[in-house]
C-alpha cells in the first residue's frame, strides 16, 4: 500500500524538490571549480570507503574497483553538469537498480553520499567564492543531491520488494503439501488467509494430486484459517466443485464455532459443501465413503 511514482514529468520532479533553473546554473558554476579535482575526490573517497564493512565484499578485485570508480566519476560529471532531463532521471534509476543488484545497503549508500557532499563542499573547496554565493551553491547542491537520493532509494526499494514478493510466492508454492493420508484419501491443512492467489495455488496442487493418485476423497482442514467471509466461501465452493468434476469428494474440516456462526450470519449458502468441526469427523466420513471400517484390535 505505498504510492507508486512512475514517470512523473521533469517539471513535477523539480517542483517536488524545489529546484529551479537558477539552482541548476549555480550547481554548474560550482561544478566548474571542483571538477578539475576529481582524482583527489576519488582518492579521499576510497580511503574513507575502506572503513566500510561491505568494502571487501563489494570491491572484490581491481577490475571491479576500476569499473566502480569510472561509474562514480561519470555520476559526478552528470551531477555537476546539472542537465535535468529524462536521461538524467533514467541514469539515477539505473543506479538504484545496480545498488539493489550488488547488494549495497542503504545506510552505506547514504553514508557515501554524505561523505561526498562533505568532500565537495569543504575539503575540495578552495574558498574562491563570496560567502553568499557559496551558501547558495551548497543549498542548490543539497537539493539536487536529495533528488538523486530519492530516485535511487525508490528504485532500490521497489526492486527489493519485488524480490521479497517473489521469494514469498515461491515459499507459498512450496507450502501446499497435499498428502495421501490413506489409500484414496488426500488431506491438506490450510493456514492463514485464503485470497484468490492462494485459492488458485491450492486448486492447482490438489487437482494435480487427484489426477496422479485417483483419490476419491479430499479433506481440506481449515482450523488454521482465521476467517471465512463470502469471498473465502466462494473459493472453497469452487475447489469443492472442481474436485468433484475429477471424481473426488471434498470435505472441509476444522470449522470453528465462530466461523460456523459468521457463515450463517453472513447468509452464505455453502451449496452442499460438506463441513465438519474436526479432522477426525471428516476422516470418519472419508473412511466410510471409500468402504473402510475401523475396528479396535481387541474387538471381536
Amino acid at each position: 500500500m505505498h504510492e507508486n511514482t512512475s514517470q512523473t514529468s521533469i517539471k513535477d520532479v523539480m517542483r517536488l524538490h524545489d529546484i529551479d533553473e537558477v539552482d541548476l546554473e549555480v550547481v554548474r558554476k560550482y561544478g566548474a571549480l571542483v571538477m578539475p579535482r576529481m582524482s583527489e575526490y576519488i582518492t579521499h573517497f576510497y580511503e574513507w570507503m575502506r572503513e566500510l564493512p561491505e568494502y571487501q565484499a563489494l570491491m572484490a578485485n581491481d577490475e571491479v574497483k576500476k569499473r566502480a570508480q569510472s561509474a562514480q566519476l561519470n555520476y559526478w560529471k552528470t551531477f555537476f553538469s546539472a542537465h535535468l532531463d529524462e536521461a538524467y532521471l533514467e541514469d539515477r534509476r539505473r543506479l538504484g537498480e545496480t545498488h539493489a543488484r550488488i547488494g549495497l545497503s542503504l545506510p552505506s549508500y547514504f553514508a557515501g553520499m554524505n561523505y561526498s557532499f562533505v568532500l565537495f563542499t569543504k575539503k575540495l573547496y578552495d574558498g574562491g567564492l563570496f560567502s553568499e554565493e557559496y551558501g547558495k551553491a551548497v543549498a542548490a547542491i543539497t537539493k539536487l543531491l536529495h533528488l538523486d537520493t530519492t530516485i535511487v532509494v525508490e528504485t532500490y526499494s521497489r526492486l527489493i520488494n519485488e524480490r521479497i514478493n517473489d521469494q514469498s510466492r515461491a515459499l507459498m508454492e512450496m507450502s501446499t503439501p497435499v498428502t495421501m493420508i490413506w489409500q484414496d484419501i488426500l488431506m491438506l491443512p490450510v493456514v492463514g488467509i485464503i485470497d484468490s492467489k492462494r485459492a488458485q495455488d491450492i486448486m492447482a496442487a490438489i487437482l494435480l494430486k487427484i489426477s496422479e493418485t485417483r483419490a476419491r476423497v479430499f479433506i481440506m482442514d481449515i482450523s488454521g484459517v482465521a476467517i471465512v467471509d463470502s469471498g473465502v466461501a466462494n473459493h472453497l465452493i469452487k475447489i469443492t466443485k472442481a474436485t468433484r468434476l475429477m471424481g473426488c469428494t471434498s470435505l472441509i474440516s476444522g470449522v470453528s464455532p465462530s466461523i460456523a456462526q459468521t457463515i450463517v450470519h453472513l447468509g452464505i449458502d455453502i451449496e452442499g459443501m460438506t463441513t465438519h468441526a474436526t479432522l477426525r469427523d471428516a476422516l470418519e466420513q472419508a473412511f466410510k465413503s471409500v468402504g473402510i471400517r475401523m475396528k479396535r484390535l481387541d474387538e471381536a
Binding site: 487437482l207 487427484i210 466443485k241 472442481a242 468433484r244 468434476l245
Partner: protein
C-alpha cells in the same frame, strides 16, 4: 469391448452395459459435433442407459466446449441415459474455474470402473 463406431476423433465402444466414447484429440467444434451425433445414434442402437465419455486426451476446453458437453448430457438425459465424464485434466478444470463455468453441471471421475459405479448408483 467391441468396436461400434469410430472416426472424427471419436471412438465408441461398449463396456459392460454402458457406452464408452473416447475423445482422441482436442474438442474442436467438428469433434464435438461428431461426438454428439454418434453417441445419440448409438444410444438408440444399443438401448444404453449409461454413457461414459473419456476426456483424458483433451488438453484444452473453453467455455463453449464445456457448454456443449452440458448440452450433450441434457440430450442424452432426454433419451433416457445418464452421462459420466472420465479423466478431466487438472489444467482443463482449473481453466474452467477461472472462466467461471458451473462445474457442478457435469459428473466426472478418473477411471472406467468409477464411472460404471457412478452410472449404477440410483
Amino acid at each position: 469391448m467391441d468396436e461400434r463406431e469410430s472416426g472424427g476423433g471419436v471412438a465408441i465402444s461398449v463396456v459392460e452395459d454402458a457406452l464408452l466414447a473416447c475423445v482422441q484429440s482436442d474438442l474442436r467444434p467438428s469433434t464435438m459435433i461428431a461426438l454428439q451425433s454418434k453417441l445419440l445414434q448409438q444410444v438408440i442402437k444399443v438401448a444404453a442407459k449409461g454413457v461414459m465419455v473419456d476426456l483424458s486426451e483433451v488438453d484444452a476446453l473453453d467455455v463453449d466446449g464445456f457448454a456443449s458437453l452440458v448440452d450433450l448430457t441434457q440430450m442424452l438425459k432426454i433419451m433416457g441415459a445418464k452421462t459420466v465424464f472420465i479423466g478431466f485434466r487438472p489444467g482443463v478444470v482449473a481453466g474452467l474455474v477461472a472462466l467461471d463455468s458451473d462445474l457442478s453441471a457435469l459428473r466426472g471421475c478418473q477411471t472406467i470402473r468409477q464411472a460404471l459405479d457412478l452410472l449404477h448408483e440410483t
